[in-house]
Structures are given as C-alpha cells and as structure tokens.
C-alpha cells in the first residue's frame, strides 16, 4: 500500500487513510507494507495507492511527478486507487489551479474539474448503494464526469456538483470527502480491501463502528 506524496497531497489528515487500510488488513492477518512516497522518491509498484487533498501549487507538482512515474501503468494493470479531493481531480482530464487556469491531469478517467462558484466547506453525506458515506469536504472544484459512474448520490453537501459525489471505476474509488474518509466509513475501507484480496471479509469490530453510527445519526436526518 502506497500513500502518494503526503508532502503535497496531505492537507486534511489524508495520511489517515493509509493507516486505516494497513491496520484493517493486519488485524485480519493480511501481511501489508505501507510506504509513503515523498517528492524525491520513485513511485513503487503497489496493490493500492492512496491520494489526498492539496493546495494549488503542490497539486500541480504532484500531477507532474505522477505523469513521469509508473503510476499510470500500474493502475492500468489493475492496482487499486482511493483518491480524495485533489487526488480525485488529478486523475481526470483537466483541473483548475491558481484562479481559472486549466491544468492537464493524468487523463486516466473522463472527469473534468472547473472552479465552482463558491468553495464547498462542510459536512458531506453520500448514498452509495445501501451504505451512507459520511465525511467533510473543503474544496473549490466542480467536477463533471462525462460518462463516468459517480461514487454515489449526495444527500448533504456538494460533492462534484451538488447531485453526485466522486466517481467509481473497477479499481478506482474517488470522493470529495477528505481526510480520514476510510476511518469514518469502515465499510468503504473493507470494500476496497475485499476487492484487493478477492474474497469477502469477516466483520472487524472497532471504535470506528461507533463513530460511523454516530455520524450517520447526525448527517442522515
């Protein structure tokens, strides 16, 4: 498992997602190595890449570094990605930085991000199948998906455009719920983990279950 550029994409406690994935795997007896890739490091081949949120300049640098790395090839070969906020934008065709300048993304999905009229700051809740995804968003992006499937339907907050949030491909989960989204939503962490190992998982009871129930109660009213 590889956390990509926490120096650049780690504004909102996003490093927590790597920690959560590794811990949930280890507690089920799955052997995991968690690595953080810094600005000067080469991107290693990994089963799972995690990308967080970042500010304009660092986001642009992260996109440039990833463009030159093996990352695109690894994902085409089936590596999984959990991408949050700036990470969500970088994987797309273009995103917006420093005012309204369009910057070229990695083009791995059809998402296009422009600057929203207002910044979206606040609680975010997204209906994903039978589950509710709960979290917090803080971004200026407005993302259109072309034909890409969204991750889910927004019930509170803005997400991509006030209607849907993020996107989902066979091996990519992307959302605007930043920071420790996988800590707050243990079901999502286990969905990604289960897909990685190719078998269903036994439930794991942790404090996160209590937290998830509480946030659902607060946000699903």
């Amino acid at each position: 498992m590889c956390v990509l550029y926490p120096d650049l994409l780690g504004t909102y406690g996003d490093g927590g997602n790597g920690l959560v994935m590794a811990e949930r795997a280890r507690r089920r007896g799955i052997d995991v190595t968690l690595v953080e890739v810094g600005i000067g490091d080469a991107v290693p081949v990994a089963n799972l890449y995690l990308m967080g949120g970042g500010e304009d300049g660092p986001q642009r640098l992260a996109a440039d570094l990833l463009r030159l790395s093996i990352f695109g090839g690894a994902v085409r070969d089936g590596a999984h990605v959990v991408a949050v906020c700036a990470g969500l934008q970088i994987l797309g065709e273009t995103f917006c930085i420093e005012g309204n300048d369009q910057y070229e993304g990695l083009g791995m999905v059809a998402a296009v991000t422009t600057r929203g009229e207002r910044r979206a700051v606040g609680e975010l809740a997204v209906r994903v199948g039978t589950n509710l995804l709960v979290g917090f968003e803080n971004h200026g992006g407005q993302t259109s998906l072309g034909g890409l499937a969204p991750l889910g339907t927004v019930t509170k907050g803005r997400g991509n455009d006030g209607r849907v949030d993020g996107y989902r491909t066979k091996n990519i989960w992307a959302t605007y719920a930043h920071g420790p989204v996988l800590a707050m939503n243990p079901w999502l962490a286990d969905e990604v983990l289960s897909s990685l190992i190719g078998t269903p998982l036994e439930p794991l009871h942790t404090a996160a279950d209590l937290l998830y129930r509480e946030r659902c109660r607060v946000l699903d009213s």
């Binding site: 120096d7 650049l8 780690g10 504004t11 909102y12 406690g13 996003d14 490093g15 927590g16 920690l19 959560v20 811990e23 810094g38 600005i39 000067g40 500010e55 300049g57 660092p58 642009r60 640098l61 910044r119 700051v121 606040g122 609680e123 917090f136 803080n138 930043h178 920071g179 420790p180 800590a183 707050m184 942790t206 404090a207 996160a208 209590l210 937290l211 509480e214």
Partner: protein
C-alpha cells in the same frame, strides 16, 4: 480633526464601554466583543484613532499567539494595554484599546485579520510566530495565509515597522522577506509538515541540520536572535531564559517576545526576569482541581500544537485525558486528528472526552494506543498524581470553567 468626527469617536468609545459594562453586569458575556462591535458600528475607524500616539506590538501566527502576547505585555513592565481574553479580532481590539490607558499596546491578532489590523493600528512591531494547518474549514489553506501576509508587508509604507519573524518556518520567511526591516529569530520549530514543498517554487525544501534551503535559492535568512540550550542571544546580548512555563515552544515564544521588546527599546534583562516568572496564561499550563482530581490543563488545538504538547508529557504518566470538540471556534472538521502523532502515547491509557470523543477513540485505536471512551465523566478513575488533560479550544474553556484553582 473635524469636530463632528471627534464627537463620533467619543460617542463610539462611550457606547463601547456602556455595552461591555452591561454585558458583564448581566452575566451574559465577558464583556469585550459586544461593545467593540457597537463601537466599530458608530466609528469604523475607531482603532486608528485609539492607537494614535501609542506604541503598538501585534502578535500573530498559528500557535503561541496568546502566550507570546502575554509575554510581550508582562516583559514590557508596568501597565500595558492588551487583549488578555483572547478576543483577537477588531471588536476585541477596540474594546481593549478603550479599556486600557497605557500607551504601550500588545495585541494578539487572528491570522485572517492581521492585514486589516496592521492597516488600522500603525504598529511599530509585528511578530510572526509560525504558520501551520489549523481550522482549515475556516481559513482554507495555509499557503494562502502566507501569501496574504506577504502582500500586506510588501505594500506597507510605514517608515518604522519592524517585523519579528521565525527564520525556521519557511512559510513565515516567505511572508516576511519583503518587509523593509525584518528581525529574524532562529528559534526551535518542530512542525514543518506544511512547508515541505517550497512556498516559492513548490520543489522540495532541503533541511540540513538547523538550516534549510531550496534549489530555487529560497533559504533560511541570517538571524539576529538565536537560542542555544538555556541561552538566548538577542542582537548580541546574552539573556538567561529560565521559564516557569514548560515546553520548548514556550522558549521560542519568549525569544520572539524579547526580540519585539528589544525593538521598542525595552531593557532585555529586566524583561526576561519578568517573563521567566510567568506561571500560566489564561489557564494554560495551570493545575486545577475537579471532583477530587488534580489536572494540568494543556491547550492543544491543532497538529503542531498537539505535537509540541505531547512532547512535554512525562513518559511514565499512566493516564492522559484528552478532550476534543468540533464547534465553530475549534474548526468543524476534526480530520486534523490524523495529523497528530498520537502514536507517542503508546504505553499510556487515554481517556477520550468531549463531543468528538469517538473521532478521537477511532484515531487512537488505529494508532494502537489504549483508550477508554468516557460517556459518563463521574466514572473517571481517581488518581493521586496530577493528570495531564489536553484539550482543544472550546473543550479547554469548558474544563477551565468547571474546575477550580
């Protein structure tokens, strides 16, 4: 000044006093912000009028604002006009300026209000402590703050303004380097996670020993104030620092407060003696009683503050209480808990308190730290030893209010 305008300021100051007296008398508030708002409504330029012919020192930064402002005020000696209650926006400033008579003024300023406050109060000194992630739901991104400060200092036309700035924080150096008279302070600064990538060119900053530089040429400036173990040197003069308050971060705060006082010609040895004797600042670091427990209240409201505070805990302290809220004054988003190195608490048992105790418990669980979720505070186990209670902003206020000296 025109007669009508002068009258307006007299009326504004009078109204401010009246509202604050009423607010304190009715027990509805501590009596600072409400009156300040009324005063500013009547005379929007009240701060400018009230700071005329006064020597103003402004203090801003993510962590240490209140403590450093208190150190400036205490170190100055005699009566100093200051906003001790932490009301650090314009309404709080004018209330303090009306309330205090001294021509020596030390004001704590919220980061987002610094540019405006600097325009209206004609400060002699601005102290810039540090910049790191804090309340991102309100201030958005920390680099934008550095950019705004840089714009403010580039545009300043004051012939006397001195900027006392932390040379070890690249974001602060970026903000202050265009000012005409920077006084750089080489003080311990542990949290650099927000300045790993260069604020000028976004490439990686190299840290070598106590120095740092980027390949674009941006680098640590030469400092006038340096700290070496217990010794502090300000502009060539050696000063003994033996603070009553704990923590390396307080040594940094004291060094910057003394540099600011040096800039307004306060004699350093006397100032240091007064700062050394400070025991606590608005309850921070104070030992309090609560239901038979003895608690040391430690304010920690963001990753950098928490990291510094965790480093002050004795390794053998068995129980630690941590209280976390996420009200507006705390920032509504507790994601920052994942940027705090809670792994340092392995070996302790942490009692999780506050409205967001489940967020904290989840964080501790993943950090493999033993924890108890405290839904019923009467169930907390008693202890003979003084317990460290770390709390973020509103949780700290709650615990200060419910405990006794």
């Amino acid at each position: 000044m025109a007669q009508g305008s002068k009258l307006r300021h007299v009326v504004a100051s009078g109204a401010l006093r009246a509202v604050n007296a009423l607010s304190r008398w009715s027990g509805r508030g501590s009596g600072t912000v409400a009156g300040g708002r009324v005063g500013l409504k009547i005379a929007p330029d009240l701060a400018t009028v009230l700071t005329k012919d006064r020597t103003v020192v402004l203090v801003s930064g993510t962590n240490g604002k209140t403590t450093t402002t208190s150190m400036v005020a205490t170190g100055w000696g005699g009566e100093v006009t200051t906003n001790q209650t932490g009301a650090n926006m314009p309404a709080g400033h004018v209330a303090a300026l009306v309330g205090g008579r001294s021509t020596n003024v030390a004001l704590e300023v919220d980061e987002a209000w610094l540019a405006k406050t600097a325009r209206t109060t004609d400060p002699r000194v601005i102290v810039l402590l540090n910049l790191s992630r804090d309340q991102l739901d309100r201030a958005n991104e920390v680099r934008q703050m550095a950019e705004r400060w840089r714009t403010m200092l580039t545009a300043s036309t004051s012939p006397t303004l001195v900027v006392v700035a932390n040379a070890n924080d690249p974001l602060i150096v970026y903000a202050a380097e265009t000012s005409a008279r920077p006084l750089w302070c080489d003080v311990p600064t542990t949290w650099l996670a927000d300045a790993v990538s260069c604020p000028k060119c976004t490439l990686a900053i190299s840290h070598v020993g106590t120095s740092w530089h980027c390949s674009c040429g941006f680098a640590k400036p030469l400092a006038i104030t340096t700290t070496l173990r217990d010794e502090l040197v300000v502009d060539g003069e050696m000063v003994e620092l033996e603070l009553a308050m704990p923590g390396e971060f307080n040594r940094s705060n004291a060094a910057m407060a003394l540099t600011a006082l040096h800039a307004v010609h306060v004699e350093l040895q006397g100032a240091a003696t007064r700062i050394n004797a400070l025991q606590s600042v608005v309850g921070r670091f104070s030992v309090r009683r609560w239901r038979g427990h003895s608690l040391q209240l430690l304010l920690a409201k963001n990753p950098s503050g928490f990291a510094s505070m965790l480093a002050t805990l004795a390794p053998n302290e068995a129980d630690v209480w941590v209280a976390i809220n996420a009200r507006i004054a705390d920032g509504r988003d507790p994601s920052w808990l994942y940027d705090v190195p809670f792994e340092l608490l392995r070996g302790h048992t942490v009692y999780c308190l506050g409205e967001r105790r489940l967020d904290l418990a989840t964080r501790l669980d993943y950090a493999q730290v033993a924890y108890e979720i405290v839904d019923d505070e009467t169930s907390l186990p008693s202890s003979k030893a003084t317990i460290a209670l770390l709390a973020n902003y509103t949780a700290f206020s709650d615990w200060l209010a419910r405990s006794q000296a």
